[in-house]
């Protein structure tokens, strides 16, 4: 997939140089219905993800355990 096709819907801009190759899309025959399901799923998950990803992930600090 060409890098210019990328959409960035996140709260942070994507840094070009960190971007890795994205796996090729699934076979075309099932692509359209599957893509719809995936879009719908990602929309739902966008809605429940904690708002500031970077800060939230950085703040998740645990003490030792078994």
């Amino acid at each position: 997939m060409a890098t210019q096709d990328r959409r960035n819907t996140g709260t942070h801009p994507v840094e070009e140089e960190e971007t890795e190759a994205v796996p090729p899309p699934a076979a075309e025959a099932e692509a359209s219905t599957e893509t719809e399901g995936v879009d719908d799923l990602l929309d739902e998950i966008d809605g429940v993800l904690e708002s500031n990803a970077e800060e939230f992930v950085r703040g998740f600090i645990q003490k030792g355990g078994q």
Partner: protein, 531 residues
């Protein structure tokens, strides 16, 4: 068998909060949800008398002074009112009538036979003993419902910051906490046979039961995705510790049962599972391998470098990574699982009649290995790491994210958030995208009811029926305080397969009160049913 789950704990609005205090809030909040009229049920003390965490299955004990302090799990943790107050949120609301002499609750024994307690800096739920893998998953899931109830209670309390729990195993910053399994094994099985039979199995089990992790290395040193949350935290093949130098085979010899007859295999290498299928197969296949080791029919495979193989397999989601056996053969994690599956199927056929549980595990195991061989991503509805990877790949495709992107790390973390409205596992399950083994009704029942077929039935019913008189309990004891007796009455329950519904239901029903119950148990004709 049974499970232990240590939850990751976080109060996002109090970033520097003391983790032990937050963990105690979970225990005390759950107690508060039960407190009305429940007497000691909300605060049964743990009986540490029979604990022996430093006994090694290889036939020796580590001197106390030489042990890592975190290994001393037989010393009750204490948190006083002052420490609680320092963290804000005065004790009164959540902690009830606590005083200097009556410190906050750090431990509870529940009516379903489980234990909910503060383990170092994490809340931990240990499920009651069960005899079937499916029940192990059921009462483990009941623990998730227990801690959710506690989280909800804290969120409703004025003055308390909401506490979030995560059913995962690392903070991705060098710290790991466990999800353990326990299996009762006849003492007659040599420990060496257990270790050699299990190492290649555990090294490859992550293929069917890993929870998936964004980041590679204990401190997330390299970018990428791996199968297991725990693999990078293991350093040796066999050992006693669970917090340092973590071993693939743990040798803690603390059976919580008749020691001459049983050993407890304490498994620390598993990931905490959200997927019911992953959890069922993790426990079910391990039980089958243990049966084979007992019968001497386990496959004779040996890895050249078990710890290296564990990590190499974890780091390759394509499942093509080859690892070397001591006979020179190169195999994948899937190959190892197939070797164990074939042996288990043959073992089961040779044994003649099989039970439906075994048939179910074998059929699921075989089906899943076939699916993973065809295309790992096809197993997304049943395996946690695949479900997580599929979600992450969708984000990577849509938004062109690198593995280092914080949003992918957030998806990883939030997959295991215990709140159904926030946890991504629960969001997938609500959309019908995760295969279920259990029903929500069953799980709700297991929150309050113990299993029928082990001593957990006796423990749970003692607590539920005599909440005022039971003042202490552990896996292998119940302590009654009765007005008529000057001394506490300790009832040993060292045989895990007694104290069942079949043996004790009548005794419970016939007893007018705790006095009557204990008298019948100790002196009457009912002694035969005593656990």
């Amino acid at each position: 068998m049974g499970t232990e789950t240590e939850y990751g704990v976080l109060a996002p609005s109090l970033p520097s909060a003391n983790a032990t205090v937050l963990s105690s809030q979970i225990v005390n909040a759950y107690a508060a949800t039960l407190r009305t009229g429940a007497g000691n049920l909300s605060g049964t003390r743990w009986d540490y008398t029979d604990e022996a965490p430093l006994n090694d299955a290889r036939g020796f004990a580590v001197p106390r002074a030489a042990a890592d302090p975190t290994s001393l799990t037989d010393e009750p943790p204490v948190l006083d009112a002052e420490q609680i107050a320092m963290e804000g949120g005065g004790p009164a609301a959540l902690y009830g009538e606590q005083t200097q002499d009556n410190p906050v609750l750090m431990n509870m024994v529940l009516g379903n036979g489980a234990r909910l307690y503060v383990d170092h800096a994490h809340p931990e739920y240990s499920s009651p003993e069960v005899t079937r893998p499916r029940d192990a998953v059921l009462w483990d899931k009941a623990g998730d419902a227990v801690v959710l109830a506690a989280m909800r209670h804290i969120a409703r309390m004025p003055g308390f910051a909401p506490v979030h729990l995560y059913k995962n195993n690392t903070d991705n910053k060098g710290v790991s906490y466990g999800s353990h399994e326990n299996y009762l094994v006849p003492r007659s099985v040599p420990f060496g046979a257990l270790a050699s039979g299990l190492v290649p199995f555990f090294v490859s089990r992550q293929v069917i039961a890993g929870s998936g992790r964004v980041g590679i290395g204990t401190n997330n040193q390299r970018q990428g995705f791996q199968l297991s949350q725990r693999a990078d935290f293991f350093e040796t093949e066999v050992g006693l510790e669970t917090t340092i130098r973590r071993p693939i085979i743990n040798t803690r010899d603390e059976p919580h049962a008749v020691a001459e007859k049983y050993r407890r295999l304490h498994v620390i290498i598993g990931d905490a599972n959200l997927s019911e299928v992953s959890a069922l197969l993790k426990i079910g296949t391990t039980s089958l391998v243990l049966s084979m080791i007992e019968a001497g029919t386990a496959p004779a495979v040996e890895l050249r470098d078990p710890v290296g193989a564990l990590q190499a397999i974890s780091h390759d989601p394509s499942l093509e990574q080859l690892v070397e056996l001591t006979d020179g053969r190169m195999v994948t994690g899937l190959d190892l699982q197939e070797i164990y599956f074939e042996a288990a199927a043959a073992h089961s056929r040779a044994g003649g009649e099989t039970d439906p549980d075994t048939e179910d595990i074998l059929a699921r195991w075989s089906g899943l290995l076939g699916t993973l061989k065809r295309d790992p991503l096809e197993a997304a509805a049943s395996v946690d790491w695949v479900a997580k990877l599929k979600l992450l790949q969708a984000y990577r495709e849509r938004d062109g994210l690198a593995w280092s992107d914080a949003r992918l790390h957030l998806v990883d973390l939030q997959y295991s958030d215990m709140r159904p409205e926030k946890g991504l596992y629960y969001r997938l399950a609500a959309r019908g995208q995760m295969e279920r083994v259990l029903t929500d009704e069953e799980i709700a029942r297991a929150v309050t009811s113990p299993p029928d077929d082990t001593r957990a039935y006796f423990r749970g019913n003692c607590l539920t029926r005599f909440p005022k008189e039971v003042i202490g309990a552990s896996w292998d004891s119940i302590i009654f305080e009765l007005p008529s007796r000057r001394r506490l009455q300790r009832i040993p329950t060292r045989e895990p397969l007694r104290g069942t519904r079949a043996l004790t239901e009548e005794l419970f029903n016939a007893s007018a009160d705790a006095e009557d119950f204990v008298t019948r148990l100790l002196t009457g004709s009912d002694t035969a049913v005593a656990p």
